[in-house]
Symmetry: C2
């Protein structure tokens, strides 16, 4: 089997690194113990926009072969599209002339409904995926071992996704030691809106609202006094602006749905404070405390 | 000089521990080097509601002497009131019969305007204070060394606070190696509303809004997928309910002022997303990113 990876950044690079290393380790075990199960026979083929990245990927043991030319993907049986979200569907369109009829396409985008809709229309043998792993770094040099271990890897098939293709994607994801989840694309998008995209807007609005302080002495004191509470609550709101923009653009409907609910909740709690309804506020704060303990954080 | 501490919990206990240890270390240095500056001659006297806490405080070297009887404070030249916020003004009222005319009262409450107003009316020689240090633990057994080192210690005098009293409070705070700030009580309350109290409501509303999800599968997936972004943004909102209630009760006006501004900002950003005004949203996200870097977090 030939596994293609288009886009050799943090995710694509770490995926290749993990698969490459797994194969080398298994082969080493077999040469020490000939009765072991047969060696995984896959090759890993990478695509990057830059020849320099291709060279690094081969040198670091991320891929067996890499090219800036998409025609390399004509050898692939399954291709992981690891580009930024905006490039996923355009990449599928560009790949089509090179694909074999049986080739499976899968992606790693953090939003699923629009991607699955667009890509499945272009290539029906498409399996939406989202490994929920990452860090603040980017690029091939940030690629790392064990990035996906124990992290959710969400697979979002539709009613029309070939079952055999889902199984093949899963068999590769299993090698990453990720936790596999299945759900509909829309359920995925609503869930990540709650725990990933809504927090960016909630947290960013905290930073932005402080800018409204009209007393410069108070604003200065707020900067002096800010500590762990403000640090944690404002962290994701002060993160990568490009990522924030992408999630708002591509997950707009689910994000607005969560934002509407958030605003109603904020208004409700504000009213408790305005009306000095301390008993209800206390009940709410206890509920928040116990609700948060139910998350595995 | 006799220093009184009323309330031997995390803050009162750590304050005593630090002053006690400082005196012992300075005395040890003097006995090794008789030409050193003279020994600090203060005694530390503690008050707790429970005899058991008094015994621990003496045993741990937090205070020289402790009692459940406020009459011990008749020996004090300065008294740090380290009770929960709600008990500060009532404690001042109870202390008055025992105070010497020159005794300075100061507190460690996290809200200043109502406390300074009420306590100064009862005892004009009152200096509002707020050491911005702490952790999630409470009680005498959580008392620790170096709790105040490099942390803000805010002093909030009014136009009528005796200058000599401010200086004496400062001379003791200096021994804690805290960073001293001065501001008006109202400025303090507005600044901490921004960086401490608003984040609790913003973060708590995130937890509470998730409860509104009407699709149980989506709610479950949100729990499975929640990771560092949700963890950090929801942390203070899932914190101690009693502390959250106290800050809302005692800093209501400043908190509502920040909440109003926060809601306007949230609505503005939501509108960018609704109207797909991606250019303005991108500008806002960049602004948030650079604004956050200006905090010393």
């Amino acid at each position: 089997m030939n596994i293609g990876i288009v886009g050799l950044g943090l995710i694509g690079g770490s995926l290749g690194l993990e698969l490459y290393t797994h194969r080398q380790q298994t082969q080493a075990q077999i040469s020490n113990n000939p009765s072991a199960s047969p060696s995984p026979s896959y090759r890993i083929l990478g695509i990057s926009l830059e020849q320099k990245i291709c060279d690094i990927a081969v040198k670091r043991g991320v891929v067996d072969e890499a090219s800036v030319d998409l025609s390399l993907m004509s050898q692939a049986d399954i291709i992981f599209i690891c580009t930024p979200i905006a490039a996923i569907a355009p990449t599928v369109a560009k790949l089509i002339p090179y694909l074999q009829p049986h080739t499976i396409l899968t992606d790693v985008g953090s939003v699923k409904k629009p991607i699955v809709e667009n890509c499945s229309a272009l290539w029906p043998n498409f399996v939406g995926g989202h490994p929920m792993a990452g860090n603040t770094q980017t690029g091939i040099n940030a690629a790392q071992h064990h990035l996906f271990v124990n992290k959710p890897y969400v697979i979002t098939p539709t009613a029309n996704t070939p079952l055999e293709s889902i199984k093949i994607v899963e068999s590769i994801v299993d090698l990453l030691q990720a936790k596999i989840y299945h759900c509909q694309p829309e359920e995925h998008d609503r869930a990540v809106a709650w725990i990933s995209h809504l927090p960016v807007i909630v947290s960013g609005s905290l930073i932005a609202s402080l800018r409204q302080e009209d007393n410069p002495d108070v604003a200065l004191l707020a900067h002096y006094f800010a500590s762990s509470g403000f640090r944690d609550t404002s962290r994701v709101g002060g993160g990568n602006p490009e990522l924030g923009l992408m999630m708002a653009k591509y997950n707009r409907d689910a994000l607005l749905r969560s934002l509407q609910s958030y605003r109603q909740t904020l208004d409700k709690i504000t009213t408790y404070i305005e009306q000095e309804d301390w008993q209800t506020l206390e009940k709410q704060l206890h509920q928040n405390h116990s609700d948060r303990l139910k998350f595995n954080l």
